[in-house]
């Protein structure tokens, strides 16, 4: 969508080639060695066929023996069979290689996405690029494969066939070239149409995907039905679909127009070659045997040409845009981090921290300065949208401040490898994830490196501390029970899922723990127990608790009050009740119903 610095075909090819080659250099060399052999056999078959035709016309004229004609036929047949066999081997190796390459390209993309700053995923533009890149990943190998086949099979074949034709009549290869160039040019033109199409349809595709989820995904469809909104989403879905279809239709129309013009040229070239051949035959410049052989070779050559130009380059030109986005995504800037290790509990210091989400009109947080002592428990309260969750994500190192800085001890968070920023931290998010995994993995996923060394008792300990009580139904297979409705396992209630997410946070070794509204779905008895256990377990850890349930705030050493992205007060609960009118208002709003 920024047409300014689009990469050219050559640049893309230069990036794709080493990437695909590295998947398995040995197999790569083998595949294309076989391809060269294939080209050689194709050429030899053509020569053998001409030889056979010469023999047959000689035999008819009585100048050649039957035996030598039979030998030339056998030779042709043998070469043909060998060629088919080699072709089969090349295809087999190619299919296998394609599978492995696609997997490797996907892996590369996923790793890249993982290395990017969390905040870029807030940008719809990046999400579009990622969607295109995922499609591009599956075509990188096709690009390299087509190029390698052109180099190893089609070029040698056409050069030889050009010579073969040139010997019969010097004009013939030039007619062939005249056909070739415009068809090639037409594909470059078509690839530009398709790139533009994909850039314009990617949003529609993501919308289609979302509306489809609204209609049928398990997380959505109950509410959609209760609202009676199926018709609404259905119409949205078909709207997006129709708009994309219209764009596709227009592109296809233009693209096919170009293709028809190119094909007309091909046909004209074919007719000219035929005309030249017939005239050569009539003027006695070539024998009837040569005529037949050249005719057969020309037929095959045009078949080969259609194969490479129309089918394979045609497919490639449709996906070139997505391949370009794939490499563009891989080139997205990553933050450079030093390798600093933070051992032991550290103070967390925020100095004038401001943060604005990409594309947002106003900052989510501005000018927050704060010192959280190692081992302190800090509660963060404030109205919806006041910046509490954003603050948590900044402290965890998931986002980077636009202004100001965050220090862990005396090391700025920005200088830490993102891995080591998270290494000492654990968290329960407000919108915790429901991983469709076994009970064990659902807990241990927070510290997977530790899983092999840790006992079941350790995992069960984290679950007990989080108040996850497994009843008979859920635990049919103990920790191996699959927690997933989608994949045929058992499902949990929202409250049980939330407890599981707390267990996950406990299991991870940490010095800082952030709880973002951890008990919203949990009943009063359990909530009471969870908070008490939490205070007992946390020992010398630093904790940040974000909650709207102000009762729990009393556990904290200090309370931070946020309002519209700014700090309005910080201090102990008791002091704030005396000194902050705003905090008193929040407290009273909740506590008066419980007096």
């Amino acid at each position: 969508m920024s047409p300014a610095k689009e990469e050219g075909f050559v640049q893309i090819a230069r990036k794709a080639l080493p990437l695909v080659f590295r998947v398995s250099p040995v197999l790569f060399v083998l595949e294309y060695a076989v391809t060269v052999l294939d080209a050689l056999l194709l050429v030899l078959t053509t020569v053998a066929l001409r030889d056979f035709f010469e023999h047959v016309s000689g035999l008819a004229a009585g100048s050649v023996s039957f035996d030598s004609t039979l030998t030339s036929l056998l030779l042709f047949a043998l070469l043909k069979v060998a060629d088919e066999a080699i072709d089969g081997v090349a295809n087999f190796v190619g299919e296998y290689y394609a599978g492995r390459s696609n997997q490797a390209m996907m892996n590369e993309l996923n790793l890249k996405a993982d290395r990017l700053d969390t905040v870029v995923f807030e940008d719809p533009e990046i999400l579009n690029q990622l969607d295109q890149a995922y499609r591009g990943a599956l075509n990188v190998r096709s690009l390299v494969h087509v190029l390698m086949d052109i180099a190893c099979l089609y070029i040698p074949y056409f050069v030889f066939m050009g010579l073969f034709l040139w010997r019969a009549e010097p004009m013939l290869p030039f007619i062939l070239l005249l056909v070739f160039v415009p068809v090639l040019a037409s594909h470059f033109l078509r690839s530009r149409y398709y790139t533009r199409l994909d850039d314009r349809t990617v949003i529609l595709r993501r919308k289609e995907e979302h509306y489809k989820d609204c209609l049928t995904a398990r997380a959505f469809f109950k509410e959609t039905r209760a609202l009676g909104a199926s018709a609404f989403f259905l119409s949205r879905y078909s709207q997006a679909f129709k708009r994309a279809q219209k764009l596709r239709y227009r592109t296809e129309l233009k693209s096919q127009g170009v293709a028809i013009a190119a094909n007309a040229l091909t046909l004209a070239g074919y007719a000219s070659i035929l005309g030249v051949l017939v005239s050569l035959l009539l003027r006695g410049r070539i024998t009837i045997g040569s005529f037949s052989a050249i005719l057969a070779a020309t037929l095959e050559m045009f078949a080969m040409m259609t194969e490479i130009l129309d089918n394979r380059l045609g497919e490639l030109s449709a996906s070139l845009g997505q391949i370009r986005r794939y490499f563009k995504f891989l080139d997205l800037p990553e933050q450079e981090y030093g390798e600093i290790h933070v051992g032991g509990p550290k103070d967390i210091v925020l100095e004038g921290v401001s943060f604005t989400y990409p594309g947002a009109a106003r900052p989510a947080l501005s000018g927050v300065s704060l010192h959280i002592a190692a081992g302190e428990t800090l509660a963060v309260v404030g109205e919806n949208g006041s910046g509490k969750t954003t603050l948590a994500k900044l402290i965890l190192g998931l986002y980077r401040p636009d202004q100001g800085r965050i220090l862990l001890g005396d090391v700025p968070l920005g200088e830490l490898a993102s891995g080591s920023a998270y290494k000492n931290a654990s968290c329960v998010f407000q919108d915790f994830q429901r991983y469709q995994l076994s009970l064990r993995d659902n807990v241990a996923i927070s510290d997977f490196a530790r899983l092999s060394a840790s006992s079941d008792a350790e995992i069960q300990g984290a679950m007990a501390a989080a108040g996850f009580r497994a009843n008979a139904r859920q635990m049919a297979q103990g920790l191996d029970t699959l927690i997933s409705k989608e994949f045929g396992g058992t499902d949990l209630s929202r409250g049980e899922w939330q407890r599981l997410s707390i267990a996950r946070a406990y299991y991870r070794s940490h010095q800082l723990i952030v709880l973002d509204e951890p008990t919203a779905a949990i009943d009063p008895f359990e909530e009471d127990r969870i908070y008490r256990d939490f205070m007992e377990l946390k020992k010398d850890h630093t904790a940040v608790i974000i909650t709207h349930r102000l009762g729990a705030v009393r556990l904290a050493d200090r309370v931070l009050v946020l309002r519209e992205g700014r700090m309005v007060a910080i201090g102990t609960h008791d002091r704030l009740l005396d000194e902050s009118q705003y905090y008193r208002g929040l407290w009273t709003a909740q506590s008066r119903y419980l007096q």
């Binding site: 969750t389 409250g495 009063p524």
Partner: protein
């Protein structure tokens, strides 16, 4: 936001939409968006604005109020709401109930909200174990009373909750 609300009731007109956003405390947020109630939400297209978890929940509430239905089922509707918003929502629900004769089924772990209900049903292991008004349930040694007191303990003024 307009579409989010019309999803529940296609006939909502501008003044009603403004009133719903006002009722759920979203009016200020709408005012800050570049295209007001027509700003696309989420992350589907460029120029969208995303909401916080609590603001999404407010929007869901506004949508349910906008349905103008006779039965309102709210399942933990204030889980992500701040104290002020929750208190405001509770009075809105009572207000709607009185004006439109709407029955509300309010599922919650927050007993402060349960208190304002006409009747409270306490469930355990798939069964109804207690039923009655807040005052009646609190009078005896009920399961409800235990729950209420557990929660209340956290809110006693100037007294750190003891185990």
């Amino acid at each position: 936001m307009r579409e989010e609300l019309q999803l529940g009731n296609a006939d909502l007109a501008d003044p009603e939409i403004a009133a719903l956003l006002e009722q759920t405390g979203l009016a200020q947020k709408v005012g800050s968006l570049p295209l007001g109630a027509d700003t696309p939400l989420g992350k589907l297209e460029p120029g969208s604005a995303d909401l916080s978890e609590g603001q999404w929940q407010r929007l869901a509430l506004a949508r349910s109020f906008g349905r103008q239905a006779k039965l309102l089922v709210l399942d933990e509707p204030a889980a992500a709401l701040d104290a002020l918003a929750e208190s405001r929502i509770c009075s809105t629900i009572r207000d709607i109930g009185a004006r439109r004769c709407t029955t509300t089924l309010y599922v919650t772990h927050r007993l402060a909200a349960a208190r304002s209900a006409d009747e409270i049903i306490v469930m355990k292991d798939g069964r109804i174990i207690e039923q009655g008004t807040h005052a009646a349930l609190l009078a005896g040694d009920s399961y409800y009373a235990q729950m209420f007191n557990t929660q209340r303990k956290w809110y006693l003024r100037r007294q750190v909750a003891e185990a």
